[in-house]
Amino acid sequence: MELSLDDVRRIAQLARIAITDAEAAATRDQLGNIFDLIEQMNAVDTTGIEPMSHAQDLTLRLRADEVTQTDERERFLALAPETERGLYLVPQVIE
């Protein structure tokens, strides 16, 4: 499959992965090869076949509406690169 450099940049933007022009060119070729492999699927007629999303036929369970987790805010916040007053810090979004 032919992907353009703009396709690659657009996908990278959607995935929030920074990509240089040199990387975009190499990535285009690699993704092209992967999509050539993927497009072998087109040879199969799948009309009327129910998609299989999962190995088992599962129904979502319900549970009693009870508190099962304790508050571990401090422990989890301690893992973050930057926090302040119990909040995660990121660069300013709104001026």
């Binding site: 396709d7 995935a15 699927m41 799948t46 973050a80 995660y88």
Partner: protein, 491 residues
Amino acid sequence: MSPRAELHELDLTELSALLAARQVSSEELAQALLARIATQNGDLNAFITLDPDATLAQARAADARIGRGEGGVLTGIPVAHKDIFCASGWRTTCGSRMLEEFTAPYDATVVEHFNDAGAVFLGKTNMDEFAMGSSNESSWFGPVRNPWDRNAVPGGSSGGSAAAVAARLCPAATGTDTGGSIRQPAALTGICGLKPTYGLVSRYGMIAFASSLDQAGPLARSAADLAVLLDTMVGFDPRDSTSLERPVEHYGRALDRPLEGMRLGLPREYFAEGLDADVARAVDEALVTLRGLGCETVEVSLPNTRLSIPVYYVLAPAEASSNLARYDGARYGYRAQEPRDLADLYSRTRAEGFGAEVRRRILVGTYVLSHGYYDAYYLKAQQIRRLIARDFDAAFSTCDLILGPTSPSVAFDLGERSADPVQMYLSDIYTIAVNLAGLPGMSIPAGFGAKGRPVGLQVIGNYFDEARMLNLAHRFQQATDWHRRAPASGA
């Protein structure tokens, strides 16, 4: 068992007997293995995190428990965990720079089960980054080497666990298998590995790659050892929405059953073009042994085998692109320095924190899920997934188990396939369909091929038929000694 055997030479069942008889303490055993790791791990790179104080403390606790007469079969047994399992207080990296400094705040259910059984946490093993790979070359912590040949890969993604068991650094290890990541490294390093039926082992605390395919399982030296490990790993867990609620099984219950009359299906597509002659020869010899034990072989067909690779490389990247969206540099893990703004923080964190293969798969997954392409790729792949599962259903109507090679070749050289992703993907041609269908699969040693590198025999069972698979493997291992062969120790 020779009384003169060194501790690292003994398998789990043998060590369990020694511990129960108090002929060795868990602390001595852990010390012996830590000492062996210290001399052998340097060039193997199988372990990436060790914490001898924590390990020895757990070993002493196990000794006390055995002393009180409260020990079970795994109490005091050192077990290595693939670094995909969160373990409280242990660095948990998933082989990625993204999580290089991440210490898990809780235990995965699998880890909890081993702790409850009194097993001793020996260390964390190396792996392909986020379990994406078939050679262990995509780890941020460097490649793992195959104990049989330091120029060869150990397979992946559970390559560190497989190499550690093969090199006699530990009697047992955990792994995870999304497209063959337990079975293929087990095959390439000459050990045993089992991927259970999807849903039997909890995924809670196991870092997600492709959630509809990921399944944890054990790696060890014999089928009997795998049965014991499986007993501990399996169990319903309300914290995993895909965990199955089933009666408790004892997986070793049928180990000794005679194999007379067992029907083994040989998929025509697994013995066709693409299978190396040395692997074919070893598998054929294994089949001769099994016929000698009373098994019958019948040809079966899995006509959509070839399509399992394209289907997998849509579904797994799609699920991965969603699962890995959580690594954003804000809440935990790697963060890019001096971001200009929030968009820059996200995109540079992910560009710098993820390696090339992970980025590639996220891009593939993002594309196939993007607007306008969903039906052509994702839905189409799910439809063919159904056809692949039906192939197995049809095959199991004429046989009890399906047998074939685990991998089309013996271990390849480091660097041989790393430049060409598609070549690497084709390594998993015989394993991927099993994950797509959700079936159990295992690999056991079946001799050696080119350059003295191990060959694995794959055993695929119907849903929940692990006990029968282990029965076949155990009887095979009573008739052969491939699983007892050990590589020479390193310098």
